[in-house]
Amino acid sequence: MISSSEIIDMDQLDHTRCRNWPFLQDFCVTCGMCASSCPASGIDGFDPRMLVRMVSLGLAEEVIDARWPWICTMCGKCENVCPMQIDIADLIRKIRSKREREKVPGILHKGLVAALETGNNLRLPKDDFIFIIEDVAEEVAEEPGFEGFKAPIDKKGANILTTIHNKLVNTHTEDLKHWWKIFHAAKEDWTVTSENWEGTSWGYFTGDDDAMKIMAGRIVEQMEKLEVKTLLWPE
């Protein structure tokens, strides 16, 4: 990151370089409401206002190589308060998309590669997934009022197909139960798939549109195969 002490010759900068990035960063009046509102600003000196300025000054490599865009949680509070309607979260995603994939921060990159190769971020094999789902379903069935509860896997013609966030079959299995109990109480006809069940799409966070298309396409495929009309995508 450029430190404040480093002097930049403004005349040497090409202000038009990022003009084709489809955002209105040139409208920035540098009011600072984004930076004042951002829950992540200040972390490693992250300053959304400065980032927007860097883009409008054409400092493309500097922002692409910087850690700042990866500190952002993309919550969107900045653009909510921005008086000039600059889509800062989308701008951040654009910057992320321009980084070489191998240089995308570790867990996001590895998780996405795993998802593209195996259908989920954890590389969890199909048998293990089915075992976990059935095991949690048995636990639910032991609770009063849920006797005989079963989690329908790959049920053809179900009303709702629901995706699974990978942490729910990893460290947060308890959270599966909340959804399922609601389905049960509502007498909902639902199902989960044994393959490509992953509901998170880290292509969103890494700015990888192609990966997002693949992940979304797989879910559509599953819906068509099982003839399910409604998708519940709780990510």
């Binding site: 009011c31 004042s36 951002c38 200040g42 509070k77 308060v81 008086p83 000039m84």
Partner: protein, 409 residues
Amino acid sequence: MGDKNVLVIGGGTAGLSAAVELANLGVHVELIEKSKFLGGHAIGYTCKAIENTCVKCGACMVEEKLQSAVFHPNINVLAASQVQNISQNNRFSANIRQESLVIDPEKCTNCGLCLNRCPMEGAILQGFSKNNHPFYAVNIKKCLYFKDRSCTICRDECPETAIDLDKKASEHTIEADAVLIAIGFQPFNPKDKPYGYGRFNNVVTGLDLERMLKQSGRVKKPSDNKLPQKIAFIQCVGSRDAKLNHLWCSKVCCGSALRMARLIKERQPKTEIAFFYMDVQTFGKDFEPFYREAQKDIRMIRAIPGDIYEMDDRRLKINFVNNSTHETKEEIVDLVVLSVGITPVEDIGTMSRIFKIGPDESGFLRTDHNGVFTAGTVQGPMSIPETIANSGSVAWKIKKYIDGLTIDD
């Protein structure tokens, strides 16, 4: 010469200034004002002289214009009045409805007994200018008599029998050779900004602060009437905002806020003042030395805060980014002043309809065609001196028009 008549709509800085200018040129003026008092927003502004040296805010000039207008033989003032409709057949013929003033200006001596005896807060309004006669008015929205006829204390006790609670509204017809629309501006209402205006007692607007300083000379916290230790000014609230379609700078708020900040520092030197801004709009040729002095006493922070939270003790927690360290900071203050911008006044819609003229793309109104003119902040942001200068120049255009001369700039 003396038989020409001009209808001036709006009794604020612009309307008063143009009326006085025209009246001095021998033109008769019918000045109508929607509210019960003359002077518009600016009559509530305080003198901001530091160490008895004028800082050229213009507040006193409004009082001066008001006084000249009220006592000018060529000006007839109708308060609490609005145009219903207007027709033009060479001359204009306007139907005016005047709400009941209740207090008879002929009889009232401005003794103030009505205000003192009234049991209902806000039912008797008091003007800002002693030259505004009567100095008091009945607010029918609060008055118990208008609610359920349960109280007649003011009428019964008025020593001059000047109060007639049953007085009816009246209709007037005004014939005029030209019309001036000087209906001013609407201060931006910041209730939807993340600063808690209208919810947190100690968040006020710049206009609230002007009136507070004018009336009591001191700034106090609305929550407990005690002196604040720490005040934050936030600039550009409702200005330079694409989401609101307010792309303009309101021009006057930096000057007004900085002058008030320095005035508070002079009168209450222990007060700490922080000033949150994007960039400071210059005002007048004395700006440089004024701003240099201001920076000595006032902490200037080049960022607009994100959120304000009210704490249990009614103090306010502000989040903002520190420009040099790129860290978000939290700071606790006693009072927040929002420098709200100048926005088009709602009645521009009515005027557009009556006179068949459209506002500009920002929503302000400007015309000098076919005998209809505009002056002052109805055209867009202007300071008091700018408004007076603009109104003077428009008055000359009107004079030329009614004398049958061509208008040129």
